[in-house]
C-alpha cells in the first residue's frame, strides 16, 4: 500500500480510484432512502426453490401442525422478518396450526411473538380469521443448546417440549403439549413440516439432525446464506428454500397469485426497488474504480 506523494496533483485516474468514502456513503444513503417513498412496480420471476417451498406449504392440509423454527431477530428483519411474515400469513390462511421454537437467541421468541400478534391483528382487520394463541399456535420458547435440541426433537418431541408452558386464553399457564396444537404430536413425523427461518448457523445443525427422518424441511434464510443452503436444496434434503430479499418478494408474488384480494405484499415489495438502486450503485462504483485504474495505466504507459 504505497502512500501517494501529496505534492504532485492527482491525475484523473487516481482521483477516480480514491473517491472519499464519505461521498460514497452519502450517495448510498440517498439511493436507499428515496425509493422508499415511491411505489415502483417491478416484474419478478420467482426462483424454482421459492416455488417449491410455496407449493409445499400450499399443499399442507388444513388442521395439520407444523413446527416453525424462528431463529431471527431484529437485526435481519429486512430479510428474515419479511420471510416470517409471508410464512405466517400462508399458515394463517390455510388454517394450519404451528408451534414456534428458537435455538439461537434468547430475544428471538419475543420478536416472533410480537410479529405473529401483529400479523394476526392485520389479518382480522382485512376480514380474515387471524390466529389465537393456544388454540392455533403456541410459543415454545428458547432452547439453549441447538444440537441437543435438534437431536431430542428428532428422537422424541414430547421430551423436547415436555417442560414448556404456554399462556391459555384465560391467562393461566398450561403445558404446551396439552394445547390443541400439540396434543396429537407423539413422534417427529406427526408434524407435517418443519420450516426454519434463520440468519444463523442453526440451518446446518437442523439439516444435520433432522433431515432424512421423514419430515419435510423448508428453510427461509438471509441472502448471504443463500448459496450455502442452496447446496442442500440441490441435494433434495430441503423441500424448498427462500433466500434473502428476493426470496421475500418471490413468496409475496406467489402468495398474490393464490390468495387474491388479501394483503400479500409487505417488506418484499417495499424494499425490492431499493435493492435495485443499491445494487446499481455498487456496479457503478466498481465501474468507476476500474475506469480509474485503466486511465492510470494508460497514463503511465
Amino acid at each position: 500500500m504505497a502512500t501517494p506523494d501529496p505534492t504532485t496533483p492527482k491525475s484523473l485516474g487516481e482521483k477516480l480510484q480514491s473517491l472519499p468514502r464519505g461521498i460514497l456513503y452519502l450517495i448510498l444513503v440517498i439511493c436507499t432512502s428515496v425509493p422508499l417513498f415511491f411505489n415502483i412496480p417491478v416484474p419478478n420471476e420467482p426462483t424454482q426453490a421459492a416455488k417449491d417451498l410455496f407449493n409445499a406449504l400450499n399443499s399442507l392440509p388444513a388442521g395439520s401442525t407444523v413446527l416453525v423454527g424462528s431463529d431471527w431477530t431484529v437485526s435481519t428483519r429486512g430479510e428474515t422478518g419479511g420471510e416470517f411474515d409471508a410464512l405466517i400469513r400462508i399458515l394463517m390462511r390455510k388454517g394450519i396450526k404451528f408451534a414456534v421454537y428458537t435455538t439461537a437467541d434468547p430475544q428471538a421468541p419475543e420478536v416472533a411473538r410480537d410479529e405473529i400478534v401483529m400479523l394476526s391483528e392485520d389479518e382480522k382487520k382485512h376480514g380474515g380469521k387471524g390466529v389465537e394463541r393456544w388454540n392455533d399456535w403456541v410459543s415454545l420458547g428458547f432452547f439453549p443448546n441447538a444440537e441437543a435440541t435438534a437431536n431430542l426433537i428428532a428422537a422424541d418431541p414430547t421430551k423436547a417440549f415436555g417442560s414448556k408452558k404456554d399462556v391459555k386464553p384465560d391467562g393461566t399457564l398450561g403445558s404446551a403439549l396439552s394445547s390443541p396444537v400439540l396434543k396429537d404430536i407423539k413422534t417427529l413425523t406427526d408434524f407435517k413440516m418443519l420450516i426454519l427461518v434463520t440468519g444463523t448457523q442453526t440451518s446446518t445443525v437442523t439439516i444435520e439432525r433432522l433431515s432424512g427422518k421423514g419430515l419435510p424441511l423448508g428453510m427461509m434464510v438471509t441472502g448471504v446464506m443463500g448459496p450455502e443452503t442452496a447446496v442442500y436444496y440441490d441435494s433434495r434434503q430441503l423441500n424448498g428454500l427462500c433466500a434473502g430479499l428476493k426470496g421475500v418478494y418471490d413468496m409475496e408474488t406467489l402468495m398474490d397469485g393464490t390468495f387474491k384480494g388479501q394483503v400479500n405484499f409487505g417488506r418484499g415489495k417495499l424494499y425490492y426497488p431499493t435493492l435495485h438502486f443499491a445494487l446499481a450503485l455498487l456496479i457503478v462504483a466498481v465501474i468507476v474504480g476500474n475506469v480509474g485504474m485503466m486511465i492510470s495505466r494508460k497514463g503511465k504507459a
Binding site: L19, N145, L279
Partner: protein, 311 residues
C-alpha cells in the same frame, strides 16, 4: 445384565430441601479437595491425568454418536411402552448413554457459565483501571459499567418477577406490565436489538467501500470473479432480468426450447448456481469437515502438539 432405568439418582433431592443443600456443600468440599490433590501431583502425573480426563470426556460423545440409540418405545396408538426395558446389553448401554446426555451437556453449560465470570472479570479489570486512573477515554469505561450494571439489575428483577412471583403469567401481556417490565423492554428491545440492527446495516456501507476499493480487473481470475458477480447481481434485479429475458426471447427458437433459450439471464444464473457454485461450496465443506474431524481426533487423543496442549 439389564440396567433398570434409574428414576432417582443419588443427587436428586427435593428442590430447596436441606438434604439438597447438604449434598451441594459436600460436592463443593469434595471438589476443592480434588483440586488441591491435583495441584500436589508431580508434573508427569498431571499430564497423564489430563490426557485421561480428555479421553473419557471425548469418549462419551463418540459413543453417543456411534452406539445404536434404542428405538423409541411406543405402541401404534401412541401410548408408551413401559419405560426402560432393555432387551440386552446393547440396548441397556444405549439407554444409559442417552439418559446421561443431559447430565453431560450440563457439565459443559456449567463450565461455560463460570468461565463467563472470568471473562467479565477481565472486562472489569481493564476498564476499572481506565476509570480509576483517569486514562484517556475513561468516560466510555464509565458508560460501560453503567450499562452493564443496569442490564444486570433490570434483567434479574424482571426475570424474577415474570417467573417466581404469583400471578406472573399475567405479565406476558403488555397491558399488565409494571415499571420493571418497561425498563426491561427499553433496554433489551429498545436499545440492544436496535443497536444490533444498526451495526448490521452498517455492513451495507462497508460492502460498497470494499467493492469500490477492491474489485479491480488486474488478472484473469479477477475478471472472471467480477463478471460472475455482475451476472449474479443482475439476476437479483427484477427489472434487468426482465429486460434481458425479453431481449433473448426475440431470438428465434428461444422460447420453444431452442439453444438460444439457454442464454436468458435466469438460465445463466441457474447454470452458475448449480454447476459452479454448489460443487465449489460442497468441495470446501468436505475439506473443512475432514479437517475438523482430524483436529477433533488429535484433540481427543491428545496428539495435538504446540499451543493447546501441555507439551
Amino acid at each position: 445384565m439389564l440396567f433398570a432405568q434409574v428414576e432417582k439418582t443419588f443427587w436428586a433431592e427435593g428442590s430447596g430441601s436441606s438434604a439438597l443443600w447438604l449434598k451441594i456443600l459436600m460436592a463443593v468440599v469434595v471438589g476443592f479437595g480434588l483440586t488441591f490433590a491435583m495441584l500436589k501431583l508431580p508434573a508427569r502425573g498431571r499430564r497423564t491425568l489430563v490426557v485421561g480426563i480428555t479421553f473419557l470426556a471425548g469418549l462419551y460423545w463418540v459413543l453417543y454418536y456411534l452406539w445404536p440409540q434404542p428405538l423409541p418405545g411406543r405402541l401404534a396408538n401412541g401410548s408408551p411402552l413401559p419405560h426402560g426395558q432393555p432387551r440386552d446389553l446393547v440396548e441397556s448401554v444405549g439407554f444409559w448413554i442417552k439418559d446421561a446426555q443431559p447430565v453431560v451437556s450440563d457439565f459443559a453449560n456449567i463450565l461455560s457459565s463460570f468461565l463467563l465470570g472470568l471473562g467479565v472479570f477481565s472486562i472489569i479489570r481493564i476498564h476499572g483501571r481506565k476509570l480509576f486512573r483517569r486514562q484517556p477515554d475513561w468516560g466510555f469505561s464509565a458508560v460501560l459499567f453503567l450499562a452493564m450494571i443496569a442490564m444486570v439489575i433490570v434483567g434479574y428483577v424482571n426475570y424474577y418477577q415474570t417467573r417466581y412471583t404469583p400471578g406472573s403469567s399475567k405479565l406476558e401481556l403488555p397491558s399488565n406490565w409494571g415499571s420493571w417490565q418497561f425498563a426491561n423492554d427499553l433496554l433489551f428491545n429498545g436499545l440492544l436489538q436496535q443497536m444490533d440492527a444498526a451495526m448490521f446495516s452498517v455492513i451495507a456501507f462497508y460492502i460498497l467501500s470494499a467493492a469500490y476499493r477492491a474489485f479491480r480487473i488486474r488478472s484473469v481470475e479477477a475478471t472472471i470473479l467480477l463478471s460472475t458477480a455482475l451476472i449474479v447481481i443482475f439476476s437479483l434485479m427484477g427489472i434487468v432480468a426482465y429486460e434481458w429475458n425479453n431481449a433473448v426471447a426475440h431470438i428465434p427458437g428461444a422460447t420453444t426450447g431452442g439453444i438460444a433459450g439457454n442464454f436468458s439471464l435466469t438460465e445463466i444464473y441457474k447454470w452458475i448456481n448449480q454447476n459452479v457454485q454448489t460443487p465449489a461450496i460442497r468441495g470446501i465443506d468436505f475439506g473443512v469437515g475432514i479437517g475438523a474431524l482430524a483436529m477433533g481426533l488429535r484433540l481427543w487423543l491428545s496428539l495435538e502438539r504446540g499451543g493447546a496442549s501441555a507439551a
